[in-house]
């Protein structure tokens, strides 16, 4: 049975005509830049997240860069984040001229709040926790540290639209929440897109100006900035998709539940499940597996596509050389980098596909000898 890792055409097939109609409507009114659909999307997104304001921008990365700019963070400043994230979490800090400072992660792949204090210096301006894989960070201790040390919190919610922490949605805790609408996100545009959330009216005003070249109106420029607007076209399609988001998220959660049940009791793997304080949206379903690389190839032989998010921790990337980290700097992240494996989790997966994936994993470990020698398996063995 073939199980692709992503299947966007399957998501779009049932809503294709609605999407095209939404596009046609935009062309009819011709307001391609910051048109009415952007306003409507922002209003609905804010409401959905339980925040006062949302501002559509060009990408999740730009959402992070703009929030750092708006908070006046730049050269000479430090921002604390994690080394196990998509590169943009650290790249955005570097793009402002500030320095990314890493703190190790914990079992749920998110920042370990206990390690934050030790990373704070007089240059620290903000903490940038990443709600990786659609799971909320442990926000209470993070907010407590930020408050006591006078730091901003910028939430990287790129993978976590709708995720909750103690009943409150991510993106509503910090000064700003930064979401991605990239085609592979749970709420996805048909191209790059992002959105900022905040409860602060002043920041909201800044975001609106900064995403539009600092323009207060057509002719007056109050701050130098870049151009980072969510396309009206993308907003129009996102409005169509938003109607389905709840149902899609529920489907992801029920897919996760099925995996949890089917993979229960395999000693060689750790399967993610919600902490009591969170409600995950499972952007990715990341297991931690012994013999990960072998498992990945085996699954691939069985036509099950998987992914690794992310195989190289950011502190060990060539781009990070100047930051002075080395192998061993973040043992938890480094260990996870060699054991994490993302299984297909998208809403369009069938129950049969999930059962098949789980059966393949179970078979792999049942057949793999425990003495460390690679197991010889063939597709026939499992069928």
């Amino acid at each position: 049975m073939k199980v692709p890792y992503v299947n966007l055409p399957a998501q779009h097939a049932p809503i294709k005509e609605q999407l095209l109609n939404a596009v046609a409507k935009v062309i009819d009114h011709g307001r391609f830049i910051l048109g009415p659909e952007v306003d409507e999307f922002e209003e609905r997104f804010a409401k959905m997240c339980g925040v006062k304001y949302a501002v559509g921008v060009n990408s999740g990365t730009d959402a992070l860069i703009l929030s750092l700019h708006a908070l006046g963070i730049g050269p000479g400043d430090e921002v604390i984040t994690v080394p196990n994230s998509f590169v943009a979490s650290a790249g955005c800090i570097a793009m402002t001229g500030a320095k990314p400072i890493f703190v190790d992660s914990q079992g749920d792949l998110n920042i370990n709040p206990d390690l934050i204090e030790a990373a704070i210096t007089p240059q620290t301006r903000a903490i940038l926790p990443v709600h990786l894989s659609g799971r909320s960070c442990d926000m209470s201790p993070i907010m407590k540290i930020a408050k006591s040390r006078g730091l901003h919190v910028i939430e990287d919610c790129a993978q976590a639209v709708g995720a909750e922490y103690r009943g409150q949605q991510v993106g509503s805790f910090g000064s700003a929440g930064c979401f991605s609408l990239h085609p592979l996100k749970t709420l996805n545009a048909c191209g790059d897109g992002g959105v900022l959330t905040t409860n602060d009216p002043q920041l909201y005003q800044s975001f609106k100006e900064l995403r539009n070249i600092g323009l207060k109106n057509r002719d007056e420029c109050v701050a130098w900035s870049n151009n980072s607007r969510l396309d009206t076209m993308q907003a129009a399609m996102l409005l169509v998709k938003m109607e389905h988001l709840h149902e899609w998220t529920e489907q992801r959660r029920s897919n996760a539940l099925l995996y949890q049940r089917l993979l229960d009791g395999i000693p060689s793997i750790m399967v993610p499940s919600d902490h009591d304080y969170e409600r995950s949206v499972y952007h990715t379903f990341v297991i931690q597996a012994q013999y990960r690389d072998e498992l990945k190839s085996y699954l691939s032989e069985q036509e099950v596509s998987t992914a690794i998010h992310y195989p190289i921790p950011i502190h060990l990337q060539a781009a990070a050389q100047n930051l002075g980290y080395c192998v061993g700097s973040f043992p938890v992240t480094e260990k996870q980098a060699s054991s994490i494996l993302s299984l297909p989790i998208y809403p369009e997966l069938t129950e049969e596909q999930i059962e098949y994936v789980a059966a393949c994993i179970r078979n792999f470990y049942e057949l793999r000898t425990g003495d460390g020698s690679p197991v010889l398996l063939s597709a026939e063995t499992i069928r």
Binding site: N7, L8, P9, H12, K16, L19, L20, V23, A24, V26, I27, G30, F32, I33, N58, S59, G60, T61, D62, I65, G74, P75, V87, A88, A90, G91, A94, M95, G97, P183, C190, G191, D192, I213, G214, L215, K216, D219, E220, C221, V222, A223, W224, S225, N226, N227, S228, R229, D231, T232, M233, Q234, I308, Y310, P311, I312, Q317, A318, A319, A320
Partner: protein, 367 residues
């Protein structure tokens, strides 16, 4: 009669072929740096007669990425003119560098004879703007840049296919930055931009830098931005790119019509110099007129959607306050800001609309 400034409803009156392409893209799911982007880049490079083109998120991003990749950063200075769209200057500031202004000439582009006086030991780059689709004086600018060892990035946002002595804009600087904004001569359905360059090395660097510095899916070679031309927008651009030459020619013809129609109004209307070796592509048709604001109101009252590009010079914007400029610093630019007006010049204007526009302006002055 209503003479619209925006031509989008006319341009996309027949939507079906576009939607067919979009439908195909949706079926493929190839939304990020997909095949249509590669195709567009190749065709755009060909159009400019240059080896490389890199699709990015916007014309503004094209400038930011270019400046950063030629090595501009905090502590540096970049020279440009104060009569441009704010993005030119915003882009400089986004690199951490300081914008330094030089007044413009009567063709609305930077006055090359004044550049040398503005160069300091911190000057890292010159950023000439081909405003209104009129190329800046690139031979003179390059002479200065080469002699002083300063890089040049061309702001060609408004100037696709403009040329001097047959040489296209984009072929002088380290890079040139184009916008594909919906109101540009080659336009897409949202924000988009493209950078052209002659340098294979610059091409590689820009490709990394627009995509998080990712050398492969997993390897980060440098910190970077996320600024990619959407596949969806590339699909639209691919459908329109073949029309660029004819769009440009129609704009040139429309401009020639106005020039001719106003040739005897010298007392009220100043037409900028039309030099025979220069191909100006008329992203905007900008003349200087007496009693500008009254004329503007009059035209608007008559349904003619004239505009002003731009009423406030950059050095007098609130954002520029820390730079320390004052009114009077750039007299040519400031005078222009008080007298310029942009008449509709787009390729979808009818002869009737052109006649009406020219006639209404004439009537305003000659009663």
């Amino acid at each position: 009669m209503e003479v619209p400034y925006s031509y989008l409803p006319r341009q996309f009156a027949n939507l079906d072929p576009f939607l067919e392409d979009v439908r195909e893209l949706a079926a493929s799911g190839d939304f990020t740096l997909g095949k249509p982007v590669g195709e567009f880049e190749e065709r755009f490079a060909n159009l400019c007669g240059l080896p490389y083109a890199v699709g990015v998120g916007s014309g503004t991003d094209a400038l930011i990425l270019s400046l950063k990749m030629v090595g501009v950063g905090p502590g540096d200075e970049v020279i440009t003119s104060p009569n441009t769209f704010v993005a030119t200057v915003g882009a400089i500031a986004m690199t951490g560098a300081t914008p330094v202004f030089v007044d413009n000439g009567d063709d609305y582009t930077i006055d090359a004879s004044k550049i040398e006086a503005a160069i300091t030991s911190k000057t890292k780059a010159l950023l000439p703007v081909h405003l209104s689709g009129h190329p800046a004086n690139m031979p003179a600018i390059m002479e200065i840049a080469d002699r002083r060892g300063i890089k040049v990035v061309e702001d060609a946002a408004q100037a696709i296919l403009a040329s001097i002595d047959g040489q296209h804009v984009g072929s002088w600087g380290e890079t040139a930055c184009f916008s594909l904004h919906p109101l540009k001569n080659l336009n897409v359905w949202g924000d988009g931009g493209v950078i052209v360059t002659r340098s294979a090395e610059m091409n590689e660097k820009l490709r990394l830098f627009r995509n998080h510095g990712l050398g492969t899916r997993d390897e980060v070679l440098m910190w970077g931005h996320n600024s990619r031309l959407d596949s969806l927008q590339a699909v639209i651009a691919n459908r329109l790119i073949d029309q660029t030459e004819s769009i440009t020619q129609t704009r040139i013809d429309n401009a020639a019509f106005y020039d001719n129609a106003f040739s005897d109004l010298g007392e009220y209307v100043v037409i900028p110099p039309r030099r025979s070796n220069i191909k100006q592509v008329y992203h905007t048709y900008v003349i200087r007129v007496s009693d500008r604001d009254s004329l503007h109101h009059h035209l608007m009252d008559k349904g003619i959607r004239a505009k002003v590009h731009y009423p406030i010079p950059l050095h007098l914007q609130e954002a520029a306050r820390p730079l320390g400029y004052h009114e009077g610093d750039f007299p040519v630019c400031e005078e222009h800001c008080r007298t310029i007006i942009s008449l509709p010049v787009h390729e979808h204007l009818t002869q009737e609309e052109l006649d009406y526009t020219a006639g209404t302006l004439r009537e305003f002055y000659t009663g």
